[in-house]
């Protein structure tokens, strides 16, 4: 466990708990222009500047999941070519 992790430990737990339970707090995190700065300002968690891109990539990858659509089972019985689709 790194020195920084030990220092951040309680803050990280609190931060993740807050994200889980506090809708407004989570919303602020998601809508902030700079999530790294948000972590530092609101949760006292220091993240290396090099991790900024990783954090942004994580948020981007999560957002790409929406709208949630289960993958088409192309070629399987569950998927079909349809004659008419009205939405």
């Amino acid at each position: 466990v790194s020195k920084r992790t030990k220092n951040n430990g309680p803050s990280i737990r609190r931060f993740v708990e807050n994200l889980n339970s506090d809708d407004e707090f989570r919303n602020q995190f998601f809508t902030s222009d700079d999530p790294v700065e948000f972590l530092k300002r609101e949760a006292g968690i220091t993240v290396e500047p090099s991790q900024r891109n990783e954090l942004k990539a994580l948020l981007r990858s999560y957002k790409k999941k929406f709208p949630m659509k289960l993958k088409l089972a192309i070629g399987k019985e569950d998927s079909m070519e349809i004659d008419i689709y009205l939405g």
């Binding site: 994200l19 949630m68 008419i84």
Partner: protein, 326 residues
């Protein structure tokens, strides 16, 4: 019956409907045919040039509901294709009117004209089947009034915090037009097969089904609904808007954030399950393997979708935890 065969069994009927639309398109005046072509090929996929592939488990009520009810009521006549085509005409009419009301169209008069042309075709099919004194006309005029009620509500509605967007009271209003546009076709099938006593049960099924479907639709369309007047009455957007106390402008990020809450996920998917299960119970009366399968597959599909979101949420938290602890 498989999930697939409840649709594929009626492929010939669908081809008949597509051919009818193709011939009509060719006969339309030049002033309206490009617009009609847009709606038939791009807005709705009635005359598809490329095959559209879809996971049938997500459910396709239009126009298959007509075929399933026809089977349930033993209607084995060519009239069924005509009646099923009314669901395509009314879908076209509704889509054109929706675009018109959203203010996204260039030629308002052209849209009114095309919507009227399709509504006329819709009306004439019923006129060719039912005598003037049929109970059907009472049902159709009532449905037309219900559709009008929806349009007025949609314009006048002002969202207030005390309204619960996932409540039956709200979803009943926001899905009212869907019942109004599907009931005439299904009622017609009931009447021509002497099953008019079952119309109240059909109505009950449609109400529950469309309330659940409205939530499903809102889970798919919330990104585009964000740009629409009144958020297109999206239960997702109204709910999240309340949760963030309207201090900020509602953004996509707020909705992404909301889907990290298990309470929110359970509310969304629990509401879908509640109404779909009621709709399933309602169709049992008709003893139709098609309708039962239709509901069963969707209930399972959206149960799996909920699990997928819960899983996505857990992965996100795990990765975030690892990243900031690294």
């Amino acid at each position: 019956l498989s999930d697939y065969s409840i649709y594929s069994e009626f492929s010939e009927g669908l081809k008949w409907i597509a051919k009818k639309h193709r011939l009509e398109l060719e006969s339309f005046p030049k002033s309206i045919s490009p617009l009609a072509e847009h709606y038939l090929k791009n807005r709705l996929f009635i005359l598809t040039e490329k095959p559209v592939k879809i996971d049938v488990r997500s459910g396709m009520p239009f126009p298959y509901l007509a075929y399933w009810f026809a089977k349930a009521f033993s209607l084995d006549d060519k009239i069924i294709n005509k009646l099923a085509s009314t669901l395509t005409y009314i879908s076209l009419t509704v889509s054109i009117r929706d675009d018109l009301l959203d203010g996204t169209v260039q030629s308002a008069h052209g849209h009114v004209c095309l919507a009227n042309l399709y509504y006329d075709k819709y009306f004439r099919i019923f006129k060719s089947i039912f005598p003037p004194n049929s109970i059907f006309w009472h049902i159709l005029s009532n449905c037309l009034n219900e559709w009008s009620r929806y349009e007025s509500w949609s314009y006048l509605f002002e969202y207030k915090n005390q309204i619960k967007p996932f409540s039956q009271a709200f979803l009943k209003e926001s899905s009212r037009y869907l019942v109004a546009i599907t009931l005439p076709t299904l009622a017609a099938i009931a009447i021509v097969t002497n099953n008019q006593t079952k119309i109240p049960q059909i109505t009950k099924f449609l109400k529950n089904y469309w309330m659940g479907w409205k939530v499903v639709d809102d889970t798919k369309d919330w990104q585009s609904d964000l740009r629409m007047p009144n958020f297109n009455h999206s239960c997702i957007l109204y709910y999240v808007s309340d949760k963030i106390n309207r201090k900020n402008v509602l953004s996509k990020d707020s909705i992404f954030s909301a889907f990290l809450s298990t309470d929110f996920i359970n509310l969304v998917y629990g509401t879908i399950q509640k109404f779909y299960r009621r709709a399933r119970r309602d169709v049992l009366t008709f003893k139709s393997p098609y309708l039962t399968r239709f509901m069963d597959t969707q209930i399972v599909f959206y149960k799996e979708e909920r699990e997928e979101i819960i899983n996505t949420r857990s992965i996100f938290y795990d990765q975030l935890d690892k990243l900031i602890v690294k």
